[in-house]
Amino acid sequence: MSDNFEKSEEQAAAFQKIWMESMSKVMQSAFTFGNNSPPPDVLKQIRSGIFQALAQSWEEFMRSPQFLESMKQWMDTAINFRKMSNDFMAKVRNDIQAPSRDDIDTVMLTVRHMEKRFLDRVEDLAARIAQLDSRLNGHTGQSAAKASGSRSDAVKGRKPARRKTKAEAE
């Protein structure tokens, strides 16, 4: 308990320091302007100086360990809240015998795994066909080995089945 209190006190002191420095910078920049400018422009210069100082202070603040810690805590809270609502919705849907998001995700993932295994197999076969093809075309065993080791399209990438273009479909 006392540790928590000390930690909060340290954080509050750090926040106070950052913002005191920031206010002092703002005040400084507010009163450094050229005397030769017409009065309406002077106001704009003051405002621009203040914004610049504020922007600088915010940049420093957003890099401070205090801000990073608060950001992490806020993110954790948001994630936990979302997780709770996901779990609740999943329970409700399962209770009424409807598929939940988790169920759909599981199906999607299973399809993805099947697709991946299938495409991997197709890639292997394509590589072997490319190898055989190069042998058939009169290449030596050496060039075939080179072909299998080269970065051919067949071994390089997985491609989902290409759909027809609009024009092709019509």
Binding site: P38, P39, P40, D41, F51, L54, A55, W58, E59, M62, R63, L68, M71, K72, M75, D76, I79, R82, K83, N86, R101, I104, D105, M108, L109, R112, D120, R151, D153, K156, G157, R158, K159, P160, R162, R163, T165, K166, A167
Partner: protein
């Protein structure tokens, strides 16, 4: 305020300012009721185009030109998976696409579309070795040219670099526009915030699935809180009577707030492998079964960066030209410009894009 210069008497200057302000206020009041309607009428992409290829959510746009393209080598724009691609064709006189079309390039743009929860398992491998490779195949079939030019913007630039490294024989010239490559420095706040000790990306993606657009939008806004939450509204109020300003503002803001989700697995890989482990510059970046080696990029490379980019600081893009195997490589840094300004800014239109078009023209058939 230039009109007030002849008045040396401060009292007269104040009077002049008050008069100017009264007229401006009148203009604001006149424009205020129509703002929403005007924002709704903003066109998303101004150059004429047709969809020539579709796959899942992806659409490939082909830009139509009045005259026959001067160059046989087509140019493909690869946009990021964050936000919408029409920023590259935002408005007349500010369109990156139009620059290249008018220069005689046969121009295409990849619109990745809006991912649904069903797309949460799509990985970088699916995008790079799947969709991008299929787009290249389609363009090769359509134009008879197997090695097109590629221009990648932001995250699309990183993906284009990966594609070129994995398929060096498929790209003739590569242009990167504000593309993050080296994530080592903490110059950008995003790098710092994404460090493993600050952000558990696994937990985030496992819970949320796709990365929500609201999360991305708020993160981007937080990069410049004073600029976005204080200066921008004030600037808007002060210039609301200025028709030209209003049109530019509404166009840009419409795009900025038109966010889309990022597929969960892509987001996880991007944050984990790049922001957290910085694997791309170490030539250890996995894409499916393959490892990206930037040294494999041997085609001519043009790297465009902005000096005041909050999202992708130039320290993230600058090392790219030293990491590739290309001999023909060039970098252009536009000082004083931001991430979006580099694409649509007035200075970029005058200084960067004519140079980029010329660079590409010299290297295209």
């Amino acid at each position: 305020m230039t009109e007030s210069a002849p008045f040396t008497n401060p009292w007269l200057q104040w009077q002049r300012a008050a008069l100017d302000e009264s007229f401006a206020a009148l203009g604001r009041m006149t424009n205020f009721p129509t703002l929403l309607e005007r924002a709704k009428q903003i066109r998303k992409g101004v150059s004429s185009s047709e969809v020539v290829y579709e796959e899942d959510r992806l659409k490939l746009l082909h830009y139509c030109s009045d005259s026959k393209p001067r160059f046989k080598t087509p140019l493909i724009f690869i946009y990021a998976l964050v936000n919408r691609p029409y920023i590259l064709d935002l408005k007349k006189g500010r369109s990156v696409v139009a620059n290249f079309v008018n220069h005689g390039f046969d121009t295409y743009l990849v619109d990745w579309g809006v991912p649904t929860p069903a797309d949460r398992h799509l990985t970088l491998d699916d995008y790079i070795n799947g969709y991008m490779a299929n787009v290249m195949d389609f363009i090769a079939e359509r134009t008879g040219v197997r090695t097109p030019n590629v221009l990648g913007y932001c995250m699309g630039g990183t993906m284009s670099a990966m594609f070129t490294a994995l398929h060096p024989e498929r790209v003739k010239n590569l242009i990167l526009l504000a593309a993050p490559i080296d994530f080592a420095s903490n110059d950008g706040l995003l790098n710092l915030w994404s460090r493993p000790e600050n952000f558990d990306v696994d937990k985030f993606v496992d819970t949320f699935g796709n990365c929500p657009p609201e999360f991305l939008q708020s993160t981007f806004l937080l990069l410049r809180p004073v600029g976005n939450f204080i200066e921008k509204p004030i600037n808007f109020y002060e210039n609301m009577h200025n028709e030209k300003f209003l049109e530019d503002f509404l166009t840009t803001e419409s795009w900025l707030n038109d966010n889309i989700a990022v597929p969960g697995e892509v987001y996880r890989q991007f944050v984990k492998y790049l922001y957290q482990q910085n694997l791309l510059v170490q030539n250890r970046m996995p894409v499916g079964k393959h490892i990206v080696n930037l040294q494999n990029i041997t085609c001519p490379v043009l790297n465009l960066m902005a000096g005041k980019d909050d999202l992708v600081p130039c320290s993230q893009g600058m090392p790219f030209t030293d990491l590739v195997g290309s001999k023909d490589r060039k970098s252009i840094l536009l000082d004083g410009s931001g991430h979006i300004g580099l694409a649509i800014g007035g200075r970029a239109q005058k200084e960067v894009w004519p140079q980029a078009c010329e660079w590409l023209a010299q290297r295209s058939d």
